[in-house]
């Protein structure tokens, strides 16, 4: 069935996203990784919706909500990153170590 | 007089708390007013306790009187159930009395940093906790009062306690004694009571297994004792044992006691010794044994062993002390060992011994701590090597110290005798089913303990009271016992003699209740 390919693609994208989020040092790349994760979720939802053929297109509705909120989230994220870049001339996540234990 | 019936106990419990709240409203500067007010409150509480004792029907001491049972936290089935029987009556009166004496004593004796208002407020909260524990007949209520005692004592030790620096093993820097003692006291007790609470909850859920409503009610749980058996009962008893044994304290959970007693301000030590230590052993008699009699029988030998170790250990440790107050603190470990030995026999004689031993220890050790405080107040040291010739410098105080030490070592005719004697008597013939030879061995070791007790008490007397004053004190004027001290101590002295000569003063109330307890707990099971 065609479904499996979508699910595998989503799983791969999701893993890439998580990996990127954990190891990437540049905050912008971290943000992109987040987008990757959310995209994986959307693919999953749309594909599974096609499987279930729900009357209200539940999966697609959810995907639309996720896209909307992800946009807002990225806005917030970019604002924070911009602020940090302005204050310390770098957007490197590793350098954020003022507070430890 | 039905009003008295239903309200007397609640008043005894909560009057001090109300008094504390009112005292909060009195300006801090008006120390005299605060003192007079707390004295008034505590005296009224004592009068109420005496009235309750007078109206107590000694013919029916086995049952609960002055009972109140109203819903409190209905969602969890906890009730405000209070009442007294012959077992709790003497302890309740003792508690009310000691609080009054402490207020009187502290009239002129303040440890740094003074602040009488805060101190007296804490003392009143403490009184509520102590009185409440002795009348509570609901496990949740009991738990609350049992814990309520901790906070005021923690602050008393921590704020007014001993400020000398001490090297504590395991700490890099020297620590002030009071800080170490306060937290140690608290952590130990809290650790025990956390497990005690788990035990209570387990009892609660198990009590519903007979198809009835689950309950926290102590008399009800006693009636449903047959539901608790096997491993379950063994574990629950163990959990409660942890809670109570820390409070008693039994060896090896006693290590907080010498520190707390030594560091606490005089009045704090008196309250700790006279009342707080009784909460644990009282809980054994009130809760652990009647609800889980069969398991208590399994545990009895273990308790007896720990009790005997406590007796011997306490006595030997006393001989190693150089500080008068610490010596008295260790002597408490020994005396509470006798109390627990009495309880471990699970007989009428033994449990009676435990109660009279508790009362006697409250009177005697309370007085000893008062004396230690006053000695420290005069000499500014408690080191026995520096003291000496006290009898010459302060004849009255020396005399009282001699008298109290004699009472403490169990001189016949004074209060301390009965507890030790009867505990040993009880272990000669423990409850059928318990190994007689085992308990007779315990009895012999306990008897050796009494000799050791006599030994260290006399040694202490010789060091502190007898001989010539050292050159350090020669030629100095010391104020002998002042009138506040006299007022606080005289009732204790009178009671020590009275209980010693006429033990029925206590036993008259307790015997029927104890017989009833042992009957229902053990006869029915066919012991």
């Amino acid at each position: 069935m065609i479904l499996n390919q979508f699910l595998i693609l989503a799983a791969l994208l999701f893993c890439m996203g998580v990996y990127g989020l954990l190891v990437r040092r540049n905050a912008v790349m971290v943000l992109l990784s987040v987008e990757l994760m959310l995209a994986a979720v959307n693919i999953n939802l749309v594909a599974l919706d096609a499987l279930w053929q729900t009357a209200e297109a539940l999966g697609q509705i959810m995907a639309v909500f996720i896209i909307t909120i992800a946009a807002a989230e990225v806005g917030i994220g970019l604002a924070i990153i911009l602020l940090i870049f302005r204050n310390r001339r770098s957007a490197n996540v590793d350098e954020l170590n003022l507070m430890r234990w | 007089m039905d009003l008295l019936e239903s309200w007397a106990l609640s008043l005894i419990v909560f009057l001090p708390l109300v008094g504390a709240l009112v005292a909060l409203a009195i300006p801090k500067e008006r120390e005299e007013a605060v003192k007079q007010w707390t004295l008034l409150v505590s005296v009224v509480t004592l009068i109420l306790a005496v009235v309750v004792a007078a109206r107590f029907d000694f013919g029916a001491a086995a049952g609960f009187q002055f009972e109140v049972d109203v819903p409190w936290i209905s969602a969890i089935g906890a009730n405000y159930h209070i009442g007294i029987d012959g077992i709790s009556l003497p302890l309740l009166v003792l508690s009310a009395l000691v609080v009054v004496l402490c207020v009187i004593y502290s009239w002129q004796h303040w440890d740094e940093p003074r602040n009488p208002r805060a101190f007296l407020i804490l003392m009143m909260i403490l009184a509520t906790g102590m009185n409440g524990t002795f009348v509570a007949l609901d496990l949740v209520l009991f738990f609350i009062f049992f814990e309520l005692v901790l906070l005021p004592m923690y602050f008393m030790i921590g704020i007014w306690g001993d400020r000398t620096m001490r090297k504590i093993p395991g700490f890099r820097k020297e620590v002030e004694t009071r800080l170490y003692a306060a937290i140690k006291f608290f952590i130990f007790t809290l650790f025990g009571s956390a497990f005690m609470l788990l035990g209570f909850l387990a009892l609660y859920f198990k009590s519903g297994s007979g198809g009835q409503q689950s309950t926290f009610d102590i008399p009800e749980l006693i009636a449903r004792g047959h539901l608790f058996e096997g491993t379950f009962a063994w574990l629950v008893f163990g959990a409660m044992f942890l809670g109570f044994a820390v409070k008693v304290p039994m060896w090896p959970f006693h290590t907080w006691l010498p520190d707390a007693h030594t560091a606490a301000p005089t009045v704090g030590s008196v309250l700790l010794a006279a009342i707080l230590l009784k909460l644990g052993s009282y809980a054994f008699i009130r809760i652990a044994i009647p609800i889980l009699p069969d398991t208590a029988r399994d545990w009895a030998p273990a308790i007896a062993v720990l009790a005997v170790i406590g007796i011997i250990y306490g006595s030997l440790a006393c001989l190693a002390q150089t500080d008068v107050k610490r010596l008295i603190a260790f002597s408490s470990v020994g005396h509470m060992g006798f109390v627990m030995l009495g309880i471990a026999t699970l007989t009428e004689v033994g449990i009676n011994a435990a109660i009279i031993g508790m009362v006697a220890h409250g009177l005697i050790t309370g007085l000893l701590f008062f004396l230690a405080g006053s000695i420290h107040h005069r000499y500014h040291t408690r080191e026995m090597s520096r003291l000496g010739g006290n009898l010459k410098l302060m004849p009255v105080m020396g005399g009282i110290l001699g008298f109290t030490a004699m009472a403490s070592l169990g001189l016949p005719g004074l209060a301390g005798f009965w507890g030790e004697f009867m505990a040993l008597l009880g272990s000669y013939q423990p409850l059928p089913g318990l190994s007689t030879s085992f308990f007779r061995t315990a009895m012999v070791i306990g008897a050796i303990g009494t000799v050791l007790t006599a030994g260290y008490m006399l040694w202490m007397l010789q060091k502190v009271n007898l001989g010539e004053p050292s050159s350090e004190w020669a030629g100095k004027e010391f104020q002998d016992v002042d009138r506040y001290e006299m007022a606080a101590w005289a009732p204790l002295i009178v009671l020590i003699v009275a209980v010693g000569v006429y033990p029925r003063l206590v036993l008259g109330a307790t015997t029927d209740a104890v017989v009833g307890l042992v009957e229902t707990a053990f006869r029915a099971v066919g012991g």
Binding site: V18, V34, N44, A72, G77, L98 | W72, A182, L201
Partner: protein, 493 residues
């Protein structure tokens, strides 16, 4: 079909209206009159209580949008709690925010948005509403954490919180998409029925979905091992925001978790039971041990809040083990949440008040507080010891119901968790007591910090007063708190 019951959504409408008014009014107010914004926000939250109380009195249930949005006892009780918590946080914030004279309007706007999100959350009965509400709750908090724009620590707090927040959202969403794939449903009820009719309770994919969702919630409630952002974010954020984070945002995570677990996944106990058991045990232990070494008050409170999250998870684990444990567990968690919210906000109020006077959050600098400011000293002792769970302060009852909920099953798993919790309760006491010790037992510094507060102190004192009264009264008459638990427990199907 799509009839909208205006009374049922009135609380949210009021808060949303207050939010818009705040935004508009802020534009027209001159700098020195900005405190009117705060007053408006306070009035808004107070007004929103009215419909909540009306509905609670009438006792009706409302269901809207095809059952996605439900106002029942559970929702009402928690809406009330969120409103009170929000109200207290607003009071706590006033003097702090006012003293900086800096983006006041935005502060209240964001706070109200987050409050709105958590109120919607209580009514969410399908995954879409739940997700949107949860994001509305946390989104503004990312910005609030970085509210002190010039402060590097605040920046750092904000970014760490953001990254962890979106990571958790991603994991949770992936889990939700799997759940949707398995059942073809988004509503909790549909998912529950699909799982039971399809016999999918032990499907491995369900396990994966449940675990991913739990990981997501774990971040939100800051349970170990998903807690490491909490201390940094708490320390870096402005203290009133931290107060809000540690209460409302944690509460929101728990509410979402309660709804999903008890409404959608009650059959999957085999998956979430052990996972939450482990999370509870590890959270308590690790957080308590870490808290022992903290010297910074707010970091201490951060670890304390992680540990408290562990305690709150205990009833869940109990619910999975015992037969009738679900409703017991739900009631216990809600009671714990309610009491925790009040005492923790009280503790933060004292810390903020003291911090403004002392100018430091190092515990050592607070020595002798009781001697020069007995009022703050007493409050500090009351709230911290209540957090430690000492009777007769309200915290004891929270601990009590927690133990009760897990001991309802007499199996070894429940007993062991209870024992771990008991030991942890004692350990926790040690670090709470250290703060009390510093304030009461230690000698005051030679230079006693002067009271230099210039801003309005009334609101902060009011917040402390309210919390104090609640902590004392609930401690003595815990029956008042069981009302919340009983109302909430009705949720369990």
């Amino acid at each position: 079909m799509t009839r909208i019951d205006w009374l049922a959504i009135a609380p949210e409408v009021v808060v949303a209206a207050a939010l818009l008014v705040v935004l508009a009014v802020d534009l027209f107010l001159p700098r020195e009159r900005k405190y009117w914004v705060a007053a408006l926000a306070v009035v808004g939250t107070t007004l929103a209580m009215v419909p909540v109380i009306l509905m609670a009195v009438s006792g009706d249930n409302y269901s809207m949008f095809g059952g996605s949005y439900v106002v029942d006892d559970f929702a009402l009780v928690l809406k009330g709690v969120f409103l009170v918590a929000g109200y207290l946080v607003l009071l706590i914030s006033v003097s702090y925010i006012e003293s900086d004279r800096y983006y006041q309007g935005e502060y209240y706007l964001l706070l109200l948005s987050s409050l709105l999100g958590s109120m919607v959350l209580t009514s969410a009965r399908d995954l879409v509403v739940l997700f949107v509400a949860l994001e509305l709750t946390t989104g503004p908090l990312f910005l609030l954490a970085g509210w002190r724009k010039g402060d590097l620590r605040s920046n750092e707090a904000s970014l760490k919180f953001f990254i962890i927040g979106v990571l958790s959202t991603g994991l949770m969403l992936y889990g939700m998409s799997l759940l949707f794939g398995l059942t073809g449903e988004l509503s909790f009820e549909g998912i529950r029925e699909a799982i039971s009719t399809g016999g999918m309770a032990s499907e491995p994919v369900l396990g994966l979905a449940v675990l991913l969702i739990l990981v997501g919630f774990g971040f939100k409630v800051s349970a170990v091992p998903f807690h490491f952002w909490a201390p940094d974010t708490y320390q870096g954020s402005p203290p009133p925001v931290t107060a809000y984070l540690s209460v409302s945002s944690k509460l929101a995570g728990f509410v979402a978790m309660l709804a999903v677990i008890y409404l959608a996944l009650p059959a999957a106990t085999d998956f979430w039971g052990p996972a939450l058991w482990l999370m509870a045990a590890v959270s308590m232990t690790v957080a308590n041990l870490s808290a022992l070494r903290q010297s910074h008050l707010i970091r201490l409170l951060a670890y304390s809040s992680v540990a408290q999250a562990g305690f709150m998870l205990v009833p869940f684990a109990g619910g999975a083990i015992a037969e009738n444990g679900l409703s017991e567990g739900l009631g216990a968690t809600v009671i714990y949440l309610v009491i925790y919210a009040v005492m923790n906000l009280g503790a933060f109020a004292v810390v903020i008040a003291g911090g403004r006077r002392i100018g430091s959050y190092e515990i050592a600098d607070w020595r002798g507080l009781g001697s020069y400011s007995p009022r703050l000293g007493v409050m500090l002792a009351v709230f911290f010891l209540s957090l430690a769970g000492l009777p007769p302060l309200a915290g004891w009852f929270a601990k009590f119901v927690m133990f009760r909920a897990v001991l309802i099953s007499t199996g070894p798993a429940g007993v062991w968790l209870a024992v771990i919790a008991a030991v942890n309760a004692v350990v926790a006491f040690y670090y709470y007591a250290r703060v009390v010790k510093s304030a009461w037992f230690d000698q005051a510094p030679d230079e006693i910090p002067e009271d230099t507060e210039t801003g309005p102190t009334g609101p902060l004192s009011l917040a402390m007063g309210i919390a104090l009264v609640v902590v004392l009264v609930v401690g003595v008459f815990p029956g008042l708190a069981t009302f919340f638990g009983d109302a909430a427990a009705a949720l369990v199907p």
